[in-house]
Symmetry: C2
Subunit: 303 residues, 2 copies
Amino acid sequence: MRREDAVLERIAAIVGRRNIPDGEVHVGDDAAVLAPIVGETLISTDVAVLGVHLDGSLFPLEDLGFKAVTSAVSDLAAMGGRPRAAVVAVTSPPGTDLEELHRGIADAAAMTECPIVGGDLVRGTDVSVAVTVLGETPGKGSVLRSGARPGDVILVTGPLGRSSAGLRRRRAGAPLDDPLVVAHRRPWPRLAEGIAARHAGVNAMMDLSDGLGIDLHRLANSSRVGFTLTDLPIAEGATEEEALGGGEDYELLMTTNDPDRLRAIFFSRGLREPLEIGVVVRDVAHRTWRDQKLDPTGWQHQL
Amino acid sequence: MRREDAVLERIAAIVGRRNIPDGEVHVGDDAAVLAPIVGETLISTDVAVLGVHLDGSLFPLEDLGFKAVTSAVSDLAAMGGRPRAAVVAVTSPPGTDLEELHRGIADAAAMTECPIVGGDLVRGTDVSVAVTVLGETPGKGSVLRSGARPGDVILVTGPLGRSSAGLRRRRAGAPLDDPLVVAHRRPWPRLAEGIAARHAGVNAMMDLSDGLGIDLHRLANSSRVGFTLTDLPIAEGATEEEALGGGEDYELLMTTNDPDRLRAIFFSRGLREPLEIGVVVRDVAHRTWRDQKLDPTGWQHQL
């Protein structure tokens, strides 16, 4: 057995699922084989690079793997779907602790019930983790960004800015188990909330990966509407700037013409009450926060 | 509109499909939404890195995108499946011609009928392209590596070594349109052959991505069998070493107890006749070529 095959076997033991459903084939063949997908099929890909998405001097390599998986799974949550499987393509320079990286990947896969069914591993200068998730929306009705209608109430699933605040605190010396630092290291995709929102018939939904200040514009662009942002739920320990401009909170942004129904469904499922933050308006150019024009602000990759 | 969104829009115009089927959503939302998958679902991921998988001083950047897509699609061919969709995650340093890279991606997607339905684009040191393909095997019966049985005839879909020979010729100054150089730049996944082989009931199949000298061992390991390699079909212009040890030919390796049926089905579909190269034997340790023990030889990534 040569080097690559030996490494792949150890990694397969870390990420591989113990109980593979009948008729499915996971890691080890040319492609994984899965039982039929129920309803609409969802697919999304996200790549996380060490030094861009995670500061390796402040956080363990495990966190890069964890975040890469959860940010991809969050895209399924944003459609109201549920995960079925993920594949992971990793590049790394010699000497990278690939087992540590894959422990983070495996943790996130287990916690989101999204089994890793395949992967690729190649040499590169960067440590990068490209995760593709496959999901399903039983029946139909995946929730798009483009469905917001004038008059809709805009809500989020939780207070914002925790991830950015955690990064700031870590830079100032806070330990890895500080609750805000954990919010940065171990974001949690809002899968149950996304499904509840779909069942409640929300008109539009997306996840807040780059910050409300830019993502709300994206939702409005897709739906060809404007918005009046009236309330900004700032997480405890975060600043207003972090709540508006900070990325990686992965809370869901939703619009609905029936917020009472949304609240009732969240309540019945034991989910935290969604928070109203504003309303959708017809005028595409009208985008305000505290009666001031709100320009897109948030984290964008420099390409 | 900020920089990332502007770049993404231009790229979406390059890779996006003009006619999106009813009820599907491709590039632009959190995840793509696809119509139901027929039968077994296949998923596989492959990452190609500039300087590792393609020498940027010898080949245009387009070729990296093209090869990344076709090597992933080849994994679907190897199961006897057909492509449904692909997503592409790209890392690149500032100044990379992302439009050129994506033209290669779009070419390969169009030629393999595998629409690009989503992607991610982030900054990195490397230019890397991680492609995940989603496929389907109508009904059941995806062909695995693990089904080879003692007595099976081993066949390949074509002569070997063209890609390696093309790389050698390019290094020696051959033009980009030299037929062997084209074989290296623009590999072709054997989709029609994979489906025909599945219909013919082959017992095991895989694609030759790292070279027969290592891939035949992998198939034998998965199936817990040995082999006697009797014939090595060397492509015109290639050497024996290139045919045995060169990767990226993407011909299919198959084993069957009914080679006449396989040949008849290939013939009736207008496909080139598959070539017999040996037989499967019961003794796992018996792995020979010209009556000599054959050790694994081929291209492996250095991790």
